[in-house]
């Protein structure tokens, strides 16, 4: 009987294994380095904003209107505008997105219409945000004559984050176990009752997470609202949505011109004077705190509020 000679001697193969082990380690180190680079970028970005911006951050900065003098300028109109626009965005994007997701996930049959809608939504998610700005400018402002208003800004940002909400809602619906649907249908519920009373309540946490992520994105979006003429120098507030006399709510603010946080920041960056760059940093601190906070809440929610079936 003849033995097969091994390719490697014992010592050789040990060296081979050790070398490969080193290569594995090196690769891990490389991966961690890239992570660290990304982490350091984030840290550098935030600390640069903080170092420059914090000294400028005081109560007056929040309660003053923009001004030609950098040290007197504030962001009152910008944050009020952002708040109002976000209200419109959420009010439009949430029902539309949830409804579209419900249809695609629960009703749609596998046919070309459904496929077409799905491909279309995927592509919309990839359309550059500035293109949405052109859509708003050409369609809402010039074709529908809606004016450069809070309503238009809210609408265009809603369209922009619609894919985010649709994707999040669909994922959330998919994670609701089929048991729930079968149980409700077996009790005699029709499909709408099943969805409305049994499936949607279980899917809410995921939908909410999607909405928060979407709004965090919308809050920071600049390009699509520049094209529709968000103003950077605005020394008055839109009419208040709530009033003391009947009917207590007021929708005049929808038609008002507006400013937004990212627009204000962009405007200050674009100025040559370094004083305004300090203002930009201060506005950036507030903006990034808002978006990181919202993203953080979304991440936390996703971790904590997994659907009750996953324990």
């Amino acid at each position: 009987m003849q033995f097969i000679k091994p390719f490697y001697s014992h010592a050789e193969s040990r060296r081979l294994v050790r070398n490969q082990g080193i290569k594995d380690k090196l690769f891990s180190v490389l991966g961690v380095c890239i992570l660290l680079l990304a982490l350091m970028t984030l840290i550098a970005l935030i600390s640069d904003l903080l170092i420059r911006g914090i000294p400028r951050l005081d109560w007056a900065f929040l309660t003053e209107f923009p001004s030609r003098k950098a040290e007197r300028a504030g962001i009152l109109s910008a944050w009020v505008g952002t708040g109002l626009v976000m209200m419109v965005t959420a009010a439009v994007a949430l029902p539309l997105g949830v409804a579209a997701a419900l249809y695609l996930e629960e009703y749609a049959k596998k046919n070309w219409v459904t496929l077409f809608i799905e491909i279309n939504i995927n592509n919309l998610a990839g359309v550059p945000s500035i293109i949405y700005g052109l859509l708003a400018l050409g369609l809402f402002i010039y074709t529908f004559s809606m004016g450069e208003s809070i309503l238009v800004a809210g609408l265009v940002l809603a369209l922009l984050i619609l894919p985010v909400i649709i994707v999040a809602t669909r994922e959330s619906l998919r994670s609701v176990p089929n048991d729930i649907r079968e149980a409700a249908l077996a009790l005699g519920a029709d499909q709408w009752q099943t969805l409305r009373h049994y499936v949607l309540p279980s899917a809410w946490p995921g939908i909410l997470t999607g909405l928060i992520v979407g709004l965090a994105r919308a809050i920071g979006e600049t390009a699509p609202v520049i094209t529709i003429g968000a103003l950077t120098f605005i020394a008055f507030l839109p009419p208040a949505p709530i009033q003391t006399d009947f009917p207590y709510v007021n929708f005049d603010w929808l038609d008002a011109p507006f400013s937004l946080m990212p627009i204000q920041m962009f405007n200050w960056i674009s100025r040559p004077q370094a004083d305004f760059h300090v203002n930009a940093a201060a506005a950036g601190v507030i903006l990034i705190v808002m978006t990181l906070l919202m993203n953080g809440v979304a991440i936390y929610l996703r971790k904590r509020l997994r659907s009750p079936y996953k324990g």
Binding site: V17, Q20, D24, F27, S28, G31, I34, L35, L37, A38, L39, L45, D48, L96, A99, A100, Y103, Y107, F116, I117, N120, N122, N123, L124, G126, V127, P128, S129, I130, I131, L134, L135, L137, G138, L139, T143, L162, P163, D190, W192, V213, G220, T222, A223, I226, T227, P262, F266, I269, S270, H277, A280, A281, G284, L287, I288, T291, L292, N295, I299
Partner: protein, 312 residues
């Protein structure tokens, strides 16, 4: 217990015909509404196409497509007006090139690391962090590129212009890193474990398994990640608008400043353009160009992704 068990007379619990009819009507109505909302997305696409095409149509009635595509100058607002998209395109491509030359290798390495090397707990901590990186507003990234990265780079390269394409390119690279990483990681994680086990059984180590087995198996998904990442880099607006400069400049040198397509649109929209002016029409022609390029990349990316899903 037994006194409660009575002969069942269930008739009074059954809903009336009228209730059933009304309920059926409500269900049909809701289905129609939901369908309407789903098809609204198609309307949005049609709206985008309508706006871009109709305004560009007006533009191309005055400027020939040939001139648009071949003229090497873009000076639509000057006395001596030229309408060649090439300078804007070159800046866009340069920024994208810089961004990808960072995000492509880094994203691939990071994805391999996360999917093949990192433990679950590392992955669970890294993912939210990458999401945060993705969540930073683009205007803040623009600020960072102009006022932090450019001065930093200028210390290394003294001849770097104050507005340049290098800094925004790198920052966009960092920006799209989470996206390319997560899409390619998803692709790699979808590779069935049998393939890995087979490779390990042959005596491959992790590195060899990752590079020779997992990456080739996930190739179409990884390609999709980069194509889609490229589309994002091309469409990214605020970073180039803030840090890239505003002069159209036919160059592929990243140390110079030049206006990219989205930057031009922002610059023109900041001013108050009358509806029928040539300047107004140019932003739609430029927008159409941008839209078509990103659309092509998106479609290719989606097809690759779909193909990947079909394989496994």
């Amino acid at each position: 217990m037994s006194d409660l068990i009575k002969k069942v007379d269930q008739a009074w619990l059954q809903p009336s015909e009228r209730f059933i009819k009304r309920r059926a009507m409500r269900a049909a109505f809701m289905k129609a509404i939901l369908f309407g909302c789903a098809s609204l997305s198609v309307l949005v696409t049609l709206g985008i196409l309508y706006v871009l095409l109709s305004e560009s149509w007006a533009f191309f009635r005055e400027i020939s497509i040939l001139e648009f595509l071949t003229d090497t100058q873009w000076t639509p607002l000057f006395e001596d007006a030229h309408f060649g998209i090439l300078p804007l395109l070159s800046a866009t491509l340069t920024v994208t090139g810089v961004a990808l030359s960072f995000a492509l290798p880094a994203g691939l390495i990071l994805a391999i690391y996360l999917s093949e090397f990192a433990s679950n707990s590392i992955r669970e901590t890294v993912k939210p962090f990458l999401e945060l990186l993705e969540g930073v507003p683009t205007v803040v990234y623009g600020y960072f590129a102009l006022l932090f990265v450019t001065p930093l780079l200028q210390q290394l390269m003294p001849n770097l212009a104050g507005f340049n394409l290098l800094a925004p390119g790198l920052v966009i690279g960092i920006m799209i890193l989470p996206y390319t990483t997560s899409v390619s990681e998803d692709a790699m994680r979808a590779v069935p474990n049998q393939l890995r086990e087979g490779a390990y059984a042959l005596g491959f180590n992790r590195m060899q398994t990752a590079v020779r087995v997992v990456v080739p198996a996930a190739l179409s998904g990884i390609t999709a990640a980069f194509v889609l990442g490229m589309s994002r880099a091309i469409g990214e607006t605020m970073v180039v608008a803030i840090a890239g400069g505003q002069n159209p400049n036919l160059t592929f040198n990243p140390t110079e400043g030049a206006a990219a397509i989205p930057a031009y649109i922002v610059q023109v929209s900041m001013g108050d353009l009358p509806h029928d002016s040539m300047g107004y029409k140019t932003i739609f022609a430029a927008g159409l160009t941008l839209f078509l390029i990103t659309l092509a990349f998106n479609i290719i990316g989606q097809l690759l992704k779909r193909r990947f899903r079909e394989v496994y």
